[in-house]
């Protein structure tokens, strides 16, 4: 019987890729609608940005930036596995993607202050 290997790093990379992808797809229409406020006026976009200038939005934005980095890293890993010659150190790709997500998220938090 084939049992799912839930404690294998590749499984968690797969889960992270899926969860981040679904979250980003759900966020995308909201992102486009917010930017579309500039059609109305510059002031309308500024009013939205003022509303978004609070800790709850900042945490959400940090989450989205981190999820985007996770999705990029996990996606590049999938393409490396599919298109590049098979080689050792594949788990290193997962670690690299995770570190990149933490670094980008941390820089975002430091800069948004």
């Amino acid at each position: 019987m084939i049992r799912p290997q839930h404690n294998y790093p590749g499984f968690w990379a797969f889960v992270a890729h899926r969860v981040s992808g679904v979250a980003l797809a759900l966020f995308l229409p909201l992102h486009f609608l917010a930017l579309g406020l500039a059609l109305e006026s510059d002031a309308a976009l500024d009013r939205f940005l003022a509303v978004a200038d609070n800790p709850v939005f900042r945490v959400a934005e940090w989450g989205l930036v981190t999820l985007l980095t996770i999705h990029l890293g996990a996606g590049l890993r999938v393409m490396a596995l599919e298109f590049l010659p098979w080689r050792d150190g594949r788990k290193g790709l997962i670690g690299l993607g995770a570190i990149a997500a933490v670094v980008v998220g941390t820089i975002f938090l430091l800069r948004i202050g």
């Binding site: 899926r18 992808g21 679904v22 980003l24 797809a25 995308l28 229409p29 992102h31 486009f32 609608l33 930017l35 579309g36 406020l37 500039a38 059609l39 006026s41 510059d42 002031a43 976009l45 500024d46 940005l49 978004a52 200038d53 934005e61 930036v65 985007l68 980095t69 999705h71 990029l72 996606g75 590049l76 999938v78 393409m79 599919e82 980008v104 820089i107 975002f108 800069r111 948004i112 202050g113």
Partner: protein
Amino acid sequence: MTPARLYLLQRATALILAPLVLVHLGLILVAVEGGLTAAEILGRTRGSVGWGAFYGLFVVAAAIHAPIGLRNVIHEHTAWRGRSLGVAMAMLGLLLAGLGARAVIAVVAAP
């Protein structure tokens, strides 16, 4: 559309999106310092052919990539499949393309 075509489209759009996302992330980290303002965002994008092409390509690739990805997730984790799933995802792609094009026009086209 056949699964093979969807797979190829998903990988092709991923290859397009990867460098665009890298630039997007870099710009977010630069622009976010001191908070965002409409003047700062629109000052960069208004009238810029380069940013218009960048975000236009970004929207088209994302509007194809996201519905195919969601379709895979729904297909593998729920009982929903068949024509209705394909139609729903195609409509989602059109919605994303429409809203995305509207957003690009909003930030690039002169007022």
